[in-house]
């Protein structure tokens, strides 16, 4: 159980994290979602006691990270940038971390096997690909068999097979009763992995909700429709239980009906349909939600 209360972090005049309050509960995967630069990594670093909050607090089962008795046995973290000396082998990197927390040597080989790095265990980490580095980071996070697992952008650099493996791993860690908190800037990825969402933008909490609710809310699918005679069609749609709104360009947005129902209705009213386009995906809904809070935007 992770509890953030009014968590705030400033870098100079920039407020990176602004009064964040949220809970991460055990037994499920909680996705930490936000655009790039929204403060996810800074929040993760504060949970792990690496960055100090300017205000507020974050605790793990009621304790500050710096007060944990055996940190790696209680919390396992994968940090965004590869936090590993490139000159050391994967095995000795893990062994030194294990020694810090009196973890037995056999556990190093177990986690190497779990993430599929046994064959390259004695290779220097500097020679690893991004995906291998990511797997090593996950091995380090699982080294102490911790009840709380924090993964910052875990699918970065993973190939599709690796992404699927990651997803399964997170779900099984949660099903064992662990607290699993993973950050991502991709809604579609979270929708497939997470049970619960914490959405932030510009360092502020935007939403804290179940993924199922988010999907239900945002898959109120809407359609963009262009017809020969809008007026009678609007009446027809509304009498069939749909809702309409008119766009400036003469098209209609229809919700509450699926594409087949809209097409059949137009046919029965003998109104010609020139366009019928499905709108809004999860990603769109997420973009909509965070549109006011995007830090970096490409020029239009």
């Amino acid at each position: 159980m992770i509890e953030a209360r009014g968590l705030t972090k400033r870098f100079g005049s920039v407020v990176a994290v602004d009064g964040l309050t949220f809970d991460v509960e055990p037994g499920r995967v909680t996705g930490f979602l936000g655009p790039n630069g929204s403060g996810k990594s800074t929040t993760m670093a504060m949970i792990m006691g690496l960055d100090r909050p300017n205000a507020g607090s974050v605790t793990i089962d009621g304790k500050n990270y710096r007060d944990l008795r055996w940190p790696l046995r209680e919390v396992g973290g994968l940090l965004e940038a590869n936090a590993i000396h490139p000159g050391r082998s994967a095995r000795l990197h893990l062994w030194s971390l294990a020694q810090y927390n009196a973890i037995r040597k056999g556990r190093v080989d177990e986690v190497l096997d779990l993430v599929g790095l046994t064959d390259v265990a004695n290779k220097r980490v500097g020679k690893f690909s991004l995906g291998m580095g990511q797997r090593l980071g996950i091995a380090a996070a699982l080294l102490g068999d911790p009840a709380v697992v924090l993964l910052d952008e875990p699918v970065n650099g993973l190939d599709p097979e690796g992404i699927r493996w990651m997803r399964t791993l997170c779900k099984s860690l949660a099903s064992e009763g662990r607290t699993v908190f993973i950050s991502s800037h991709l809604m579609a990825e979270m929708a497939q992995t997470a049970d619960q969402l914490v959405v932030i933008g510009k360092g502020r909490l935007i939403a804290e909700m179940a993924v199922a609710d988010f999907v239900a809310r945002s898959s109120t699918q809407s359609f963009r429709v262009r017809v020969a005679s809008p007026e009678p069609f609007i009446t027809a749609v509304e009498s069939s239980g749909g809702a309409t709104s008119a766009n400036n360009d003469g098209t209609l947005i229809i919700t509450g009906m699926d594409a087949k129902a809209i097409g059949d209705l137009a046919l029965s009213k003998r109104i010609a349909v020139y366009e019928l386009t499905a709108q809004a995906s999860l990603e769109d809904a997420f973009m909509e939600m965070t549109s006011d809070a995007v830090e970096y935007r490409g020029a239009k």
Partner: protein
Amino acid sequence: MTTPPTEAVFSVDAPSGRAGLRHAVRAEWTKFWSVRSTPWSLFALVVATIGLGVLSTHALRTQPGFTTDPIRRILVGFNLSQFAIGVLGVLFLSAEYGTGQIRSTLSAMPRRPVVVGAKAIVMGGVGLVVGEILAFVAFFIGSSMLSGSPSQVSIGDPGVVRVLVESGIYIALLGLIGLGIASILRNSAGSIATFAGALLILTLIISAMPTFIVNAVSRYLPLNIGATVFSIGPPPRLQGTPVFSPLVGLIILAVYALVLLSGGCLLMIRRDS
């Protein structure tokens, strides 16, 4: 959604107590020896110390009477290895900041003074052992080269064992000063430059000052303390300036190391990593 099993318990084999200095020293020992730069630096240190000592002693054998303090010539390589050990001490910590490894280290041991303390124990221990071995090996090679010459020197001569033992301690303390500078500055290049500057440039600048400043300050400079440690009598370079006895000099260096390392710990507690 998955239903959590009630009262799930993980990491069941956790021992009682908490992660502390004992564990940290073992982990830092593993880290010290598991990067290639360590054996290479130590190898370079050995070659420089022994090699320079042999060259310098050879010169002494062919120019008998050149010095009344042959041990200073035998240990001349320490003037180089004091920089090598300092760089090793710097890199032991600054490389962790440069690569991001420090974040892994601090997630395994969030109490900063324990991390710095463990590094100081490993660095100080290695520096001491290497320093003592080098001092005695260099002496036995050098004294065997000088045997039969007017400058011959034996381990039993007054002051010889004192010089050899304290030279090893000096090397260990310079390694700790390097580590201490890195704990404050974090950056490799800046820390190495500061270390070299504190040894060389500071000594040069002070020596160019008016006499009353030279007399007041120069005995506190690490390089001048080193000069008194490496020689049996007062070093000729410092003729006429007040110096501390070698033992007091080493205590002053230990205070420098302690102040730098404690300052580094305090900064690490306050700063983001």
